[in-house]
């Protein structure tokens, strides 16, 4: 009889434990964002307005590539270019996706673009907004934008 009471008590405890709801982790998804890229040029901020950024996670959701379209690093540049930052590490929580990458060679103009090696990339995706900062070579760069409606 004593044994039965113990079993019932454990079962009740287990049921209580099951009813405690864990917060869901965000699953990173492909999305396009639009916002402002700010680069530091000779100590002054230089804004690239209405820049589109594509965020594409890998299949396992552990990394992502970020493509910045038509960016200009210095005001005098007579061209804008598309730059892709591969292998950006992702950490998903229940409220945001954290981006982090210590160093990676970006892709532009058909191949690797070591002149503008990316360092110290940190950022996040939260509530439909994407923010990150990084160095393109020795050019500090930030992006703040909102997800475009599909």
């Amino acid at each position: 009889m004593k044994t039965n009471k113990l079993f019932v008590a454990l079962a009740a405890l287990a049921l209580l434990a099951c009813n405690k709801i864990e917060p869901e982790v965000i699953v990173p998804e492909t999305a396009d964002y639009q916002g402002t890229v700010t680069v530091q040029y000779q100590g002054e901020p230089y804004d690239n307005e209405n820049i589109e950024v594509n965020f594409t996670p890998s299949e396992d959701g552990k990394t992502a590539s970020i493509t910045i379209f038509k960016i200009r690093f210095v005001p005098q540049m007579p061209v804008t270019i598309d730059v892709t930052i591969p292998h950006v590490g992702l950490t998903a929580t229940s409220t945001e996706v954290i981006l982090i990458c210590d160093e990676v060679i970006p892709l532009a103009m058909g191949g690797e673009f070591p002149r503008y090696t990316v360092t110290n990339l940190t950022g996040s995706i939260k509530d439909g907004s994407l923010e990150f900062s990084l160095n393109f070579g020795d050019i500090p760069t930030t992006f703040k934008g909102h997800q475009l409606l599909k």
Binding site: M77, T80, G110, G111
Partner: protein
């Protein structure tokens, strides 16, 4: 005083040749040529021989206001008449051979062996002759059978290994003509060390006409030419100096043209019915070094295979005070054109890479195209079709002949274009290997010249038995079409844009280029107001006219700015031509005099290309004056006749471009001919351009550079003919 002197001179002169009846069938008019309310230049067989008219180019200045400069190759056929003309696309002068409208300008320039009669009616002849006869219509007639046997053969040889030979045989209801023409070329290509414009051509003509005694008469006229020639003797003009011709690419033109026309004539009790149907085939192949330099920049091939069918029926009736003509005309033409542009290594570097890399910062890298040749393939299938309904009524009322006519002309077309740029590229240093890249550019583009309403009103007043005064108001038009020669520029631009997009690089200053939808050009139209007088008395014929042409949507060949490689037809606002023409032909006794003169002031009324306003400037390539004068004397001995003639033709000055800053002075070309005629044969010696001065006769730009071609130098020709 002058009329009195002329009257005395005329009264002592013998009668001149009258127009043989056979020639009249070449025309659509209901009245004889001398009753036309339009100026007409007529060349009979003796004139063609005496003036050495062996092709259309020899009509320059001989016909007032006409200039057909001979340059490039046989496909060029640039015709300026009364201030209207262009070197590309549709001509402003209609051409009829044996009653068949020649629909392709590439077939206009041919050897006139076998042609026995030429007449050029100036001013719009659109009511009866339709499209492209805006400034005039040239009517040619070959020898017709008369039921007897005739044989005529000739051979003529001259400098630059010029050789012309021909034979015309008439038997029964047939006339067969064969001709051969050879020339070693006049202009030396300094780079190649060879003459760049040799010519070899064959022509064959067969004409059959049913016995004209019956009510129904059928006829057939077949004309074929085959030629292989060099061409494009263009020298670089730099800092006021014209350099010799010097280029490394191929310059050649091959053409096979076959035109066959079937004619039908029915004579009823009170009407006549004329029908003409033709099939016209043209296959040609042109190769051109389009930079005309020794560098391997870029070349063009343009091969066309076209087929055209035409049909026309005209019903005419004849009443005492009313001569109505009503007709329908229709045609369809399909032209398959293969026009690849190939860039050589120098062209890739200077025209493509230099342009692309100058916009890319050095620290980013540079674009490289490793190909030795870059091919931009362009193929076009162009359908053109049209139909017209026309009516013209002549009212002979006493001394008056009043004419009213109207033509409704519709023309449309569709162009299928299929272009492809094929290359490899690499962006250094980011790309580790070359990448194959293709840029297709395909589509279909319709075009319509719309419904053209082409009226005509004219009046001729017979002031006396010999003098008539005339005036007319008429409208003509030149069809619109497609600019195919600009597609290489379009595709270059498309390729650069696509390639940069593929790289993810975007230029701030994107070079502007037209798209396919901008390659259409509109029809050109002109109202012509004219008055004139004609004096015809026995051996004397004189004609003088004043005209004013109001031209809308003037078609003009332009060169896009910068290092562009194409050229295109554009509609350059409005222009006007104001002119006076006079022509005189007189045969007093053993002498024969012929003179013609024209003054033409052709200017833009409004033309702004977006960068400059050219309003008020002279229209390029149009001479302000044309003049021709010849004097001939004939003396008969017992068995031989001696013919001596001397002539001079002149034209100019003219502007080479819209700015009017680059001018050409007057060209003067004296000529002479000495002949001994026996009963069945003749031997002659004639000289062309006796001073040997070679003025400039064509100007253009390519890749921002200027080029000229020169007239042919002096030629001395010895010929012999037999006639049985």
């Amino acid at each position: 005083m002058l009329p009195a002197v002329l009257s005395i001179l005329i009264s002592f002169a013998p009668p001149i040749d009258t127009l043989p009846p056979a020639y009249a069938k070449a025309f659509k008019e209901s009245v004889p040529l001398e009753k036309l309310a339009a100026p007409v230049s007529v060349l009979l067989p003796a004139d063609l021989k005496a003036d050495g008219v062996v092709g259309q180019g020899r009509l320059s200045a001989l016909v007032p206001s006409l200039l057909i400069p001979e340059y490039g190759a046989s496909l060029t056929s640039t015709i300026y008449l009364r201030g209207v003309g262009s070197r590309m696309e549709n001509p402003s002068m209609g051409l009829y051979v044996d009653g068949i409208p020649v629909m392709d300008k590439n077939a206009y320039d041919f050897d006139w062996t076998g042609i026995r009669f030429a007449a050029l009616m100036r001013g719009p002849q659109a009511t009866l002759y339709g499209r492209n006869s805006m400034s005039g219509t040239l009517v040619l007639e070959s020898a017709s059978p008369d039921g007897n046997r005739h044989l005529n053969a000739y051979v003529e040889a001259g400098l630059a290994r010029t050789l012309r030979a021909g034979v015309t045989a008439s038997f029964g209801r047939h006339v067969v003509t064969a001709g051969f023409k050879h020339n070693a070329g006049w202009d030396r290509n300094e780079y190649k060390g060879t003459l760049c414009n040799p010519y070899n051509g064959l022509s064959l003509r067969w004409k059959w006409e049913q016995d004209p005694t019956g009510k129904t008469r059928w006829s057939n006229s077949l004309f074929a030419t085959l030629s292989q020639e060099g061409g494009f003797a263009y020298g670089l003009y730099e800092d006021g100096v014209l350099h010799p011709v010097s280029y490394n690419g191929e310059g050649s033109y091959r053409r096979l043209s076959v035109i066959d026309g079937v004619g039908f004539h029915y004579t009823g009790d009170s009407f006549t019915l004329d029908g003409t149907g033709s099939l016209q085939l043209l296959s040609d192949d042109m190769h051109m070094d389009q930079d005309f330099t020794p560098q391997d920049v870029f070349t063009l091939q343009q091969a066309q295979n076209s087929a055209t069918a035409t049909a026309e029926v005209i019903l005419k009736s004849r009443k005492e005070h009313w001569l109505p003509s009503t007709g329908v005309f229709t045609f369809y033409r399909y032209n398959r054109m293969h026009a690849p542009v190939t860039f050589g290594r120098t062209g890739i570097e200077t025209l493509i890479l230099e342009n692309a890399n100058k916009n890319i910062p050095e620290e980013i890298g540079y674009l490289s195209i490793p190909d030795e040749h870059l091919l931009i393939a362009s193929d076009f299938g162009i359908h053109t079709y049209g139909a017209a309904l026309f009516h013209e009524s002549v009212f002979p009322l006493g001394r008056w002949r009043l004419t009213a006519g109207l033509r409704l002309d519709y023309e449309g077309g569709v162009m299928d274009y299929d272009c492809l740029a094929n290359l490899h590229y690499r962006f250094v240093p980011t790309m580790k290997a070359d990448k194959a890249f293709q840029v297709p550019y395909r589509g279909t583009l319709p075009h319509s010249s719309g419904l053209q309403v082409l009226p005509k009103v004219s009046a001729l007043f017979e002031a006396s038995d010999h003098v008539s005064l005339f005036g007319s108001v008429s409208k003509g038009y030149r069809a619109g079409g497609f600019n195919t020669q600009i597609f290489s520029d379009i595709l270059q631009s498309q390729t650069m844009t696509a390639l940069m997009k593929d790289l993810g690089v975007y230029l701030d200053n994107i070079p502007t280029s037209v798209g396919a939808e901008n390659t259409r050009y509109k029809p050109e139209s002109a109202w012509n107001f004219e008055t004139g007088a004609r004096l015809v008395k026995e051996n004397f014929r004189a004609e003088a006219t004043l005209y004013y042409m109001d031209v809308r949507n003037q078609q003009l060949t332009v060169y896009p700015p910068g290092k562009s490689t194409g050229r295109m037809m554009t509609n350059a606002g409005a222009s006007r031509s104001l002119g006076a023409e006079a022509e005189l032909d007189w045969t007093p006794g053993a002498f024969h005099f012929h003179a013609s003169y024209a003054w033409c002031d052709a200017r833009f009324v409004s033309y702004n290309d977006g960068n400059h306003d050219y309003s008020g400037n002279r229209i390029p390539y149009v001479p302000a004056h044309t003049a021709f004068a010849s004097a001939a004397w004939r003396h008969s001995f017992t068995t031989v006749s001696l013919h001596l003639s001397a002539s001079v033709r002149a034209y100019g000055p003219l502007s080479w471009d819209e700015t009017g800053l680059l001018q050409e002075p007057v060209h003067i070309r004296p000529e002479t001919r000495i002949a001994l005629s026996f009963s069945h044969w003749e031997i002659w010696l004639r000289g062309e351009n006796l001073t040997g001065r070679t003025g400039r006769n064509f100007y253009f730009k390519s890749v921002g550079r200027e080029f000229f071609s020169l007239e042919r130098p002096c030629n001395i020709l010895l010929g012999i003919s037999i006639n049985y």
